[in-house]
Amino acid sequence: MYRYDEFDAAFVRQRTEQFADQVRRRISGELNEDQFRPLRLMNGLYLQLHAYMLRVAVPYGTLSSKQLRRLAEIARKYDRGYGHFTTRQNIQFNWPRLNDVPKILAELADVEMHAIQTSGNCIRNVTTDQFAGAAADEIIDPRPIAEIIRQWSSLHPEFTFLPRKFKIAITGAPQDRAAVKFHDIGLMAKTGPNGEIGWTVYVGGGLGRTPMVAKQIRDFVDHEHLLAYLEAILRVYNRYGRRDNKYKARIKILVHEAGIDTIRDQVEEEFAAMKDGILKLPQEELDRITAYFAAPAFKEVEQKTIDLPKLKITDPAFARFIERNTHPHFRDGYVSVTVSMKPIGGTPGDATDIQMEAIADLAEKYSFDELRVSHEQNLVLPHVALDDLRAVYEGLVDIDLAEGNTGLITDIISCPGLDYCALATARSIPIAKSISQKFSAPERQEQIGDLKIKISGCINACGHHHVGHIGILGLDRKGVENYQITVGGDASEDAAVGSILGAGIAGDDVPDAIEKLVDLYIEKRESADETFIAAFRRLGEAPFKEALYGTR
């Protein structure tokens, strides 16, 4: 994993000092809230419903044990003993006090972390596949390029006051686990005509109030020219993106209004002018960064397979854990383990200080000190030997995070909603909890199979409801919380935006409504192998609508 050199360290330290000074000016009254707002927003500090919220970047979702321990410590010292992992692979602290924030940032800087560009109209944290550098199906490890993009975009002088925020996602595997087509720029690894690896570039995807699937802007760009190509896109966006209406300012609207062909021409023109300029990435630099991400020194593993059928009888919970929470690794005898932060009835993505520390210990002992945060709000131990799987499992049982539910109906994505967020129009967390409880029985979850439920507490869609197989959007209807149900969304390489089934329903009715949809699927599916989303594609939305609202 990437390690700061003296250069990065100086960068983050100076930035931390700069912000400490701004906080001091705010507290002394030299700055009023209006003046302070743009400054704090550039450092990930929001003012929420009840308190400040600090969003800390986890670059492309990669953490070391030491870093996770530090996050635990901060949660204990400066917050109320927990943190919240987000769909942007970041972590949020919900209760920091303003005058503690400089101390928090300094403590983060000690472990090579920061909150730079976790808010504001700039290039946000680059996200990627949580199994990057471990997945069996990977064409290339996207982390070195993600790190290079992180460096290029950090305090970029030209792109810190864009029309709106800008999100880049990158995946090195054909199976898209990073939802790249729902980002402002999505990069997908591709093997070029001569066997060289480069990137297919998508632009203009996004969720929010106008969900759009990104369009392909370029079929192939090699590593050497990637930064110049990104800079060309950003420049076109910075110059021509709408600034008259905040809700129409994302690049997806520019692409939609001008047309992908026009934007492509503008970007190509810009690219042609700077293609061979200062941003050309030398192979030596790519090699230098790639070296940081070298595979760990895997050991010779005794156990090459696991006898699941047998285990299902002798230890069904462990068998479920293996079946759901492990992901194929490129190395024989290894898997990546998802630590589900979705215990039954829990708050999706929340972790206590004790849990974080325990997971950090497991990572240190069993996963070469490495951890990942997934955009689905789970943690990942990327390199676990099959020999160690039981030890990891037992370690997770001890902290109540051994639920074998990854990708199942209780593995719900949820934004913080009206419990915390100043923008929210309805609560999300209680809805997630009640669905989780309703479907708590493992057998029931297993019967249903792969099903992604995603909940947002307002149309800004932080909970990705548009791309949930079942999506739930909380709205405010004349002062009453009201939930709209969508079906058929998909964040994967088969990207799709869900269809709204009909009028919103009351919060208390949501779990029953979900059950109706699930029952219909089970009744109509061709076999247990046909997933919910596959069945939806075959059946269309009509039967689901009918299941929810009856025939009219």
């Binding site: 109209n121 460096q151 305090l155 002088p157 030209e158 910075n238 600034r243 030596e284």
Partner: protein
């Protein structure tokens, strides 16, 4: 003594209060010129020297003769504006020899300023205030930074504005200005010159009684004020270097307000104004012309050949006039709101793609934290409306991140500030 010199030395900031200055002014007899000079050079601020500045003009010999009596090795500053009469330069040499002055220092204008604002050497004609500014005010300011104040040869009888000039003044930037000849009349000067057989400036015999730069000095007629030949026909009596004195005598406030342009680390007077009522392509100079006005009147502007600038607003298709960029001494990019970041892209395009090398200024609502970004994108001047930013610039209180993780390729970006692979030789 009313004022112990050691007290002054201890109280460096401010060096002296208005009250102390009033006390100083009571210390010396009006005609005790040598006493004032001795006190100023030897006792007033021990360890903090005062400068001597001379124009080597019609009456300069009087002060220099006194200085030579106190200390012939004292440094004497002379503003070599590049526009002096040949006779003046000759006169400098004569005085030097006759009085035994050993340390005359010539202060020259900044070459980059000349190139930018006065490429043809005609600025005195189009905008004499700006000409004085770059040829006198700026060079003198640079030299005076090393001094706690300066000694001048001004006299209260020279102009109406100088009518109440005292021996000692406190300037608005807490420097001391000493005027040993403050009470001398024209007749006193004449008598002293005769008594000591001081050499006369060669132009005096041709009717010049106050001598500055050649283009802006003319001879005076019988009965005219001796300084009437300076900037004849213009409502201008001072070049700018003497404006900044005690508020009771002149009005330094007006001058300070003019210092709205932040450049090279400090606020200076802005030679430019924004296009408005009364401006015309044929006559206006030192004006930032909006893109549309330039496009409509391009031929007239080019025919007039005045130094002008271009104003770019967000959304302007400025690249349409790319071939004209090198005609502008300055390009101003407007930032009507700090959140509108289009200007950053414009600046990089101007610098990196179109090779614009003139002054590139950002103007408008700018936050302190944006200044480093602006600089990195190629801006080298600011006219800021945001009060907090102004204050931070004045106090040099910009918190800055000095290393950066990406290059922008603009001229002047220090190649050492970034990653090894991104470092380039400075072009």
């Amino acid at each position: 003594m009313a004022l112990a010199s050691s007290n002054l030395a201890e109280a460096k900031a401010p060096r002296a209060s208005d009250l102390e200055i009033v006390a100083l002014n009571g210390m010396f007899d009006e005609r005790d010129t040598l006493g004032v000079i001795r006190y100023a050079l030897e006792e007033l601020l021990p360890g903090e020297p005062l400068a001597v500045v001379s124009s080597f003009g019609a009456d300069s010999a009087v002060l220099l003769h006194h200085i030579a009596q106190v200390d012939p090795h004292k440094e004497v500053l002379f503003l070599e504006t590049g526009k002096h009469f040949a006779e003046t330069l000759e006169y400098v040499e004569t005085i030097k020899q006759r009085f035994g002055l050993t340390n005359i220092r010539f202060l020259e204008p900044d070459a980059a300023d000349l190139k930018r604002f006065d490429p043809h050497g005609t600025l005195w004609d189009t905008d004499p205030d700006s000409c004085c500014h770059i040829r006198k005010t700026e060079p003198l300011k640079g030299a005076l930074d090393q001094y706690a104040g300066w000694i001048t040869g001004r006299r209260r009888h020279q102009t109406q504005e100088r009518g109440v000039l005292p021996h000692f003044e406190l300037t608005s930037d807490v420097r001391i200005k000493v005027n040993p000849l403050a009470y001398w009349t024209y007749e006193d000067v004449k008598a002293y010159k005769a008594e000591h057989d001081l050499p006369e400036h060669p132009l005096v015999q041709h009717g010049y009684r106050s001598i500055g730069c050649a283009p802006c000095t003319s001879a005076t007629r019988e009965g005219e004020d001796p300084r009437a030949g300076r900037w004849r026909g213009l409502n201008k009596a001072e070049c700018g270097i003497h404006f900044d004195f005690n508020g009771q005598i002149a009005s330094p406030a007006a001058k300070l307000e003019n210092r709205t342009l932040f450049k090279s680390g400090r606020f200076i007077a802005d030679p430019f104004h924004v296009w408005g009522e009364g401006d015309a392509p044929e006559t206006s100079a030192y004006v930032h012309v909006p893109l549309a006005i330039w496009q409509e009147n391009r031929d007239a502007f080019i025919a007039a050949d005045h130094p002008i600038g271009l104003l770019i607003e967000p959304g302007d298709d400025f690249e349409a006039i790319a071939e004209d960029f090198d005609r502008f001494a300055s390009i101003a990019v407007a930032f009507p709101k700090f959140t509108d970041g289009r200007g950053y892209s414009y600046a990089r395009l101007l610098r990196e793609r179109y090779g614009f090398t003139g002054e590139l200024r950002a103007t408008g609502d700018i936050l302190t934290d944006q200044v480093p970004f602006l600089r990195r994108c190629g801006f080298d001047a600011l006219t800021v409306t945001n009060e907090a930013t102004k204050k931070a610039l004045e106090n040099d209180a910009l918190a800055e991140v000095s290393v950066y993780l990406q290059p922008v390729g603009s001229r002047g970006e220090a190649p050492v500030g970034t990653r090894p692979f991104l470092r380039r030789a400075d072009q």
